[in-house]
């Protein structure tokens, strides 16, 4: 049964060009899915891609492994038209990526980073279930 966990805002505000680290976050016991989302609300006039990624530790931070990542375009992007081409595209308000983790325990930790190439005002949220 999925675990219910409140989303965690790990970064918020104005992010200048560069690498922005967040975490570590300790998922509650039993969590098996992690989603990292970036709010697109203020990205309409921007042009540079944004990369973000996660790392996972299962030994209370002693060692870390790459645990997923993604790149998103800036600007305004829309959804597609569905598998049969009949959906009406809508403007996307966030980009996200999602990965599974081994069921979390007391030794499970997550951390991550966001790479921006221009100043971006946004919120990065980690959702766990």
């Amino acid at each position: 049964m999925p675990v219910t966990v409140a989303p965690v805002v790990v970064l918020s505000g104005s992010l200048v060009a560069g690498v922005h680290n967040f975490g570590p976050v300790t998922p509650p016991a039993g969590v098996t899915v992690i989603q990292a989302a970036i709010d697109r609300t203020n990205l309409a006039l921007l042009t540079q891609p944004i990369d973000w990624s996660l790392e996972l530790s299962i030994d209370a931070g002693a060692t870390w492994r790459p645990w997923g990542g993604a790149t998103m375009q800036a600007g305004t992007i829309t959804s597609g038209t569905g598998i049969t081409g009949t959906d009406i595209p809508v403007v996307l308000t966030e980009s996200n990526f999602e990965v599974g983790i081994p069921a979390a325990n007391a030794n499970t930790m997550l951390r991550g980073s966001v790479i921006t190439r221009e100043t971006v005002t946004t919120t990065v949220t980690v959702r766990m279930s």
Partner: protein
Amino acid sequence: MAVSIADIVGNSAKGTGVTSLTTPAFTVTSNANRGGIIDIARTVNDITGLTASLGGVTGVTITGTDTGTSLSYRSLQMSVAAPPSGSQTATASWTTSCNAIINGKTTSGVDQTTPCNNGTFGFHASNGSPTLAVSSNSGDLTNTVECDGSASGSNTTNQTFDYRQNIATGNTTTVAGDHGPGTAGPITHTWTISGTAWIMSGSNFNQANLADAIGSANITSSAGRFIGWTT
């Protein structure tokens, strides 16, 4: 030298509004004659700028697996020859922002010149019955990836289930992958899905030939692990 079923390992990632994805790390066997397949399914049928790699080794689209513009979603498989052993990730990137699900899978006992062959694809706009027959010799290993428009699919396969991921908002998508029995084919992969429209890509891990196998030992390996894969 048969393709190893015991050495199969992999991981997947999904994203909304992205132009690349990287999977979590997974531990690739150190046994000889390693090969990999990267499944890529996206909610647009434009593959401008599409590239992929596993363990830093560039993937090559397996001829015949690309569903093209059959429907508005698109899937294909890429082969990776001799991925490095140890902790590795699979990555794919493209130009057009979309929802996407990728999966990297590796094993051993794979031909080092032609790791994958017999690519094929199928699709249907409404019959909800994904099925593909993939050619295979005894000791090879067939693999398929199925993609449909359901939001929370509970897709099952008549072959050995590997993973399933779904995106439940916006352009809803369920993507699932499997592998066959390693026996002589053609091997028919049939999925039971919640959606009606579907696309499907399939191919065959080509077993290592005798020249590749001489001097190697496919000793007992750890059981296939699917850390983070939805079962």
